[in-house]
Amino acid sequence: MIEYILCFALFCIGLYCILRKRNIIKIVVGLGIIEYAVNLFFVLIGYRTHGRAPILAKDQVISNMVDPIPQALVLTSIVIGLGVTALIVAIAIRIYEKYGTFDITKIRRLKG
């Protein structure tokens, strides 16, 4: 149970980071933390106590193995997260070139 609570705490840290931080790079880091918290939760779901890797071999009987599907899905989700992070960091660098600041409160030309 404790690991789920810690995982939730990680999620909340990421959310706090996005909502409260003013530096846009820190916001991107917060986004990464949220993504990892969700991925960690997904992997934890597939965990079985004393389970082993789900690899079938001819002369072995596996009675207890971890669930392989969440691991496969999390791999996909990590790759997607990488794509998003790369894009957002690229946008953040271009914002720095245009505005000369990383402070989110000073980046406000759009209003209405």
């Binding site: 999620f11 996005i18 949220i34 794509g83 998003v84 271009r94 914002i95």
Partner: protein
């Protein structure tokens, strides 16, 4: 059936080809993108025929049986959404041929555009929950990049805001999918629905529903989650604004929400009431914010929020007539909102401004833009012979039948307000005296006129969708949502 995977293959394949050869061969990107969207449109029209004959078709990817493997499902709702988005995306690609000339790297635009189309087609046809998430992210990432396409300061700012909020929404959706998987040990939508009906606890389903509501509600720009839309949609190039406002928020927001709530989780009266409240709030807030705007595109963006409110409100009423009205309004809004955004692009193309205070008397110089936008505005405001009137009428009748008198009154009042701000747009931009120094404005190129005229004609003709001849098209889509949890049996019935 074999045509299902082609909705993803054609769009992904053309994105790949354009990114490889677009720079080397002249006009290659234009031709491939337009052929791609044209063939998608033809395929989706053919899928309507298929649905009329077979009702439900399931394609097994890699011929794995559905609860284990990924499957693609074609039913009434799917073919309806496919026709809507592929119609709009075909007309938008034609429009982009001329419009995007002023940008460098046109082929990159088409690459991202086709990725966006691939993501949206994928979301609609997939029958697997995690697959839906992957396609959702493909479409979202392409849209973040397209909003920032001009790389001006405002565009980057809007894109950053949109990307951060969109990623948080995606995380909520993934969390919901993880919880559903932990509870049901399956990812197939039909299978999840079956398992949930045998052992679902109300508390768990409500918790997952809230996560999905936060995630998809943000993608659909319902009011507490709407802050990104009025920045992101005006900042993108006009064809992309038309795609984002016209179909993107409906596929990622309304379609996914409706599919998951109605067909997988199963709706309770409490969930429906939450949808009604969110819909009404979006309707009111969007309209009041729209009326104060002087930037044309920003006004349209707020108007999108208001119209999405109508659709969600009608879905929340939950009677067959209301669902019919919601889907009909979804189709109408896809047509007239893309038309209006294309018009705003045409104004920007010829006059180089989109501030209402600097425009005026454009009707004499831009007749095609003027009259098509008049039709679009009249349709969205609900003037009788046009499509928008019928869909709003059906929604209001359904609300009265379900005894939501107060909300029906709000819907009527907001409809009047909609008329007010579209009249403001028409009178400031197209009527009145022409501004000084703006006398040498030329009408936009022929291809852009073609897209706008076609959309305007569909706008006029879409009222015919409720005529008995064409009604099965909407009815089959309505039946899928009205069937609710029966979705699982129909899918598994079609597999065997």
């Amino acid at each position: 059936m074999k045509i299902l995977p082609f909705f993803v293959i054609i769009s992904l394949g053309s994105a790949f080809l354009i990114s490889l050869f677009g720079k080397k061969i002249k006009n290659f990107a234009d031709i491939v993108a337009n052929l791609g969207t044209l063939s998608l449109l033809i395929l989706s029209l053919y899928s309507v025929r298929l649905v009329a004959v077979h009702r439900v078709l399931v394609y097994k990817v890699g011929s794995w049986m559905p609860p284990i493997g990924i499957c693609m499902v074609l039913d009434g709702l799917t073919s309806f959404m496919l026709v809507t988005i592929n119609l709009v995306s075909f007309l938008v690609t034609i429009y982009s041929i001329s419009y995007m000339e002023k940008y460098t790297d046109k082929f990159r635009f088409y690459t991202l555009f086709m990725l966006l189309v691939a993501g949206m087609n994928g979301i609609i046809i997939t029958g697997d929950l995690f697959n839906l998430f992957v396609f959702l992210e493909i479409a979202s990432i392409a849209s973040y990049a397209l909003v920032a396409f001009g790389t001006e300061a405002e565009e980057l700012e809007a894109s950053f805001k949109y990307a951060v909020m969109g990623s948080v929404a995606s995380s909520f959706i993934l969390l919901g999918i993880a919880l559903l998987y932990s509870y049901t040990a399956t990812l197939n939508m039909a299978d999840i629905s079956l398992v949930l009906s045998s052992k679902g606890s109300v508390l768990f389903i409500s918790f997952v529903a809230v996560l999905f509501l936060a995630g998809f509600g943000l993608k659909a720009a319902l009011v507490p989650f709407h802050a990104w839309l009025p920045d992101a949609h005006p900042s993108a190039p006009a064809p992309i604004s038309a795609m984002l406002s016209g179909v993107f928020i409906k596929v990622l927001g309304v379609y996914a929400l409706a599919r998951i709530f109605f067909n997988i989780l199963g709706v309770s009266s409490k969930m429906l009431f939450i949808l009604i409240i969110l819909g009404v709030i979006s309707m009111v807030v969007g309209a009041f914010l729209a009326i104060a705007q002087s930037d044309i595109k920003r006004m349209f963006a707020y108007s999108s929020i208001s119209q999405i409110g109508y659709i969600i409100f009608a879905l929340g009423i939950g009677t067959p007539l209301a669902i019919f009205g919601a889907l009909f309004h979804l189709f109408n809004h896809a047509i007239f909102k893309s038309l209006l955004f294309l018009n705003s692009g045409a104004i920007e193309y010829s006059v180089h401004t989109r501030d209402l205070k600097k425009l005026g008397g454009l009707n004499s110089q831009l007749p095609v833009t003027g009259y098509t936008s008049l039709l679009g505005s009249m349709s969205i405001a609900g003037i009788p012979p046009l499509g928008g009137f019928f869909s709003k009428l059906i929604i209001i009748i359904a609300a009265v039948e379900a005894r939501y008198f107060g909300f029906a009154l709000v819907a009527i009042l907001i409809s009047i307000l909609t008329l007010a701000y579209y009249l403001k747009f028409q009178s400031f931009a197209f009527f009145g005296k022409p501004n000084e120094g703006k006398l040498k404005i030329k009408e936009v190129p022929g291809l852009m006129q073609f897209s706008m005229l076609t959309l305007a004609i569909i706008c006029v003709a879409s009222g015919l969708l409720i005529s008995p001849m064409v009604k099965p098209f909407l009815n089959s889509a309505r039946d899928v949502l009205w069937l609710g949890k029966g979705y699982a049996e129909t899918v598994f019935g079609a597999v065997k």
